[in-house]
């Protein structure tokens, strides 16, 4: 039985997929938080 290559490929896809998704989630999270912080700052300045 010589099908380690296939097993490896499938694993690579699964892990690659999950890790990539988690990565994009983190990225989006960071962007959103930055936006939010900027907005808050802007609003804080105005109200003062």
């Amino acid at each position: 039985m010589d099908n380690f290559g296939f097993l490896f490929a499938a694993n690579a896809f699964v892990w690659g997929g999950i890790i990539y998704y988690v990565y994009t989630l983190k990225q989006r999270n960071r962007e959103l938080e930055k936006d939010l912080a900027l907005l808050k700052e802007a609003i804080g300045k105005e109200s003062r």
Partner: protein, 238 residues
Amino acid sequence: MMDQEINEDSGGESSILVWLTGITFFAAMAAIFLFVPTEKTEGPIQRIMYFHIPSAWLSFFAFFIVFVSSILFLWKKEREWDIYANASAEIGVIFCSLVLITGPIWAKPIWGTWWVWDARLTSTLILWLIYVAYLMLRAQTDAGSMRARYAAVLGIVGFLNIPFIHFSVLWWRTFHPQPKVISSEGFGKGMDPSMLATLGVSLGAFTLLYFLLMGQRIRQEKLKDEIDRLKREKLFSS
């Protein structure tokens, strides 16, 4: 204030969830590659099963959550349910794609072809198409009540299609010679207890991962809402 609440929420609960998911995945990996014996006829490739079936389970579960949240949204008209449906559909599509990728990789060495028009493969592909269309519909429309209502209708219509897909594809296939029976067709039957245990751990790990990802996606949508609200506030005040 609201975002603080969100942050605290995700900070406390999700860090426990992160650790729990991580540990379960570690256990699952150990079980898949070290503990479980290699299958006699199929060889090492059979270990794909421990990713393939949990991914399939996770995507079906996610689509079921889309269905339930869609109904609840149309009933109660609360933004909360729309967020759940959106998050769940996205996660479902991703894991459905993983099923469709690992399926052919498993099929090639065992059946000799990448793709067989077997009942399960076919219905998974159709399901994938339905929910990709669902996400496209969401991407096409601007945020707001219209998008939520339309998506909810599609979420209900799409899920109700599953029994029809199942039977039509099953009967469609029976007119042709059956492909070589895949080992997962006789689910659980004749499966070694150690294999069943490994599959169980893997299923648990994927289910935990689902909740972890859901938590993140929900938090993101709420952040987005908060930003929109602040922007509007700023616009009105200035």
